[in-house]
């Protein structure tokens, strides 16, 4: 019987060729995908990694890389990026995990659960321009909370909106999308906790806090840490929110990269952008490596989905 060719990818039709060649021809099926990922994923990655070791005239040189490494501005931006990412990852992970626990202990599939999950899926993607507007409407000049604060708490930081446009403000903003992301990541883990463990602990006379201290928390720690690492990467790579909130081009590494790439004053410097990008990639790769190690621990008890 005739086998139609699949999208011109050359999967051998039933009659031609030996079994061996038919087996090899199957590899042609991944060519279109390889082309797509080669063009839009592998080429850019290679371009950045190799470009970091070149100067702007595309000769091999490590000068730019060294300059960026020594530059005070770049170090400051990098430190800011790391600090904000670490803070929001920890705060987001703790609050998100607690919230996930609060949802799970409720009625499964109930309205609270459903709304929380749907809202989390939306808000986890809510970073960027719209998030900035939301917080400007809340804490910015003329915002909802700041207007209220001027009336009732005139001498607190809430009445003075300047805090929003700095590290504190960014931390608060980023945490806003970190919490829902944590809920999404951590909820399945909590749902996979076996009720038998709790029952066993109860049956042996364990109190609630003993269960959490000796069983619950030790079991959940790797997943929790893994999720926190994911959050770290999430805010480390974030650009949109910071770009619309803060007009300082050297405040965070992503902002610095964008400036180096598209500087409007004509001083665009692709080599610098690539060197900065390389340092970012190194951090992300290390963090994701740790994440992979943690997941391996987790998958011992949690079924992989």
């Amino acid at each position: 019987m005739d086998q139609l060719q699949y999208k011109g990818t050359g999967s051998a039709s039933g009659r031609t060729g030996s079994r061996y060649w038919r087996g090899k021809a199957a590899y042609l099926g991944v060519l279109p995908f390889l082309l797509l990922s080669g063009l839009f994923l592998l080429y850019p990655t290679w371009n950045v990694v190799s470009g970091a070791f070149k100067d702007n005239k595309s000769r091999f040189s490590t000068t730019v890389l060294k300059e960026v490494y020594r530059s005070k501005v770049a170090r400051h931006a990098f430190a800011n990026s790391l600090e904000i990412s670490a803070k929001t990852a920890i705060v987001g992970a703790v609050l998100g995990a607690l919230f996930a626990w609060a949802i799970v202990t409720g009625k499964p599939g109930g309205p609270l659960y459903k709304v929380s999950v749907a809202l989390s899926s939306v808000l986890a993607q809510f970073g960027g321009v719209m998030l900035t507007f939301a917080f400007l409407a809340t804490f910015g000049f003329n915002g909802l909370v700041s207007t209220l604060a001027i009336k009732i708490l005139p001498h607190t930081f809430l009445a003075d909106s300047t805090w929003l446009y700095g590290k504190t403000g960014l931390t608060v903003l980023y945490t806003f999308f970190q919490i829902p992301l944590m809920v999404l990541v951590f909820l399945p883990t909590l749902e996979n906790l076996k009720p038998q463990w709790r029952e066993a602990s109860d049956a042996l006379g364990g109190r609630a806090h003993e269960y959490w201290l000796r069983v619950g928390i030790p079991i959940l720690t790797p997943s929790f840490a893994g999720a926190a690492l994911l959050l770290f990467v999430n805010s480390f790579s974030a650009y949109a929110t910071a770009n619309t909130l803060i007009n300082l081009s050297d405040f965070l590494t992503p902002l610095e990269i964008a400036t180096a790439l598209t500087s409007e004053t004509g001083g665009s410097n692709p080599a610098e952008a690539k060197s900065l990008s390389l340092f970012m990639v190194i951090v992300v790769v290390i963090v994701m490596g740790l994440y992979a190690l943690l997941r391996r621990r987790v998958s011992k008890w949690e079924p992989r989905r």
Partner: protein, 264 residues
Amino acid sequence: MKRSLAVQIWRWSIILTVALYLLVPLYAMLDFSTKPFGFADKGRTWRAWKMIATQPDLSAAITRSLITALIVMALILFLIVPTAIWVHLKLPALRRPFELLCLLPLAIPAIVIVVGIAPLYRWISINLSESPITLAGVYSMLILPYTYRSLSAALDAVDIHTLAEAATTLGASISRVIFGIIMPTIKTGIVNGSFIAIALVLGEYTISNILNFKTFQVVIAQIGRTNGNVAVAVSLASLLFVLFLLLLVPTKKRQGAVLDVDIA
């Protein structure tokens, strides 16, 4: 199950704290967008909401973003999903490399991809045309890890080898097997994947802003520079729209598959 009062108090105070954190800014958006602006207004006004329709660049930007989303979905449906099935069915040796390739975007921040793609993008827009296709290509790579996760979960749950063999025995061609037999059985995974695609494309700012392509978010930011009230109204409207879409899609299995990215 009966729970002690202390646990209940804890639970509700956590829920209230987080809900306050997440909902107050959303309410503030509604408040801000109905504030009077200009001299003619007194008290509350829906003028900002009415002005959404008359924003010059907005509808063009929405169309542009939706077209990009459509191209991304087409890439997922006709290229990424078939390839994943193909690898599962015919090339078990490639499963690991394929998985690694699909998860690679997790290690490459979007801003880094922009840096790498900028020369290629410039070349294409100068020599070919400034179409959303390049952008869609980049986006399809950005969501690849999520697409892959929801797909491979779905593919693992079904015995596609048996299905494929049965279909082939009954005379189905290989394209029929992929598009007519296997893809319908993993519909949920595909719908999930497509949904993330729409959400990502409508929310993406980093890449399109740097490449100077006026997508939805870029135009919202632009409106924000001239009229904050309208920008806030648009943001809230699009947020509510996505939330509404999400509540329509059955929530049963989605959250687990969407973000439980696993590179171990």
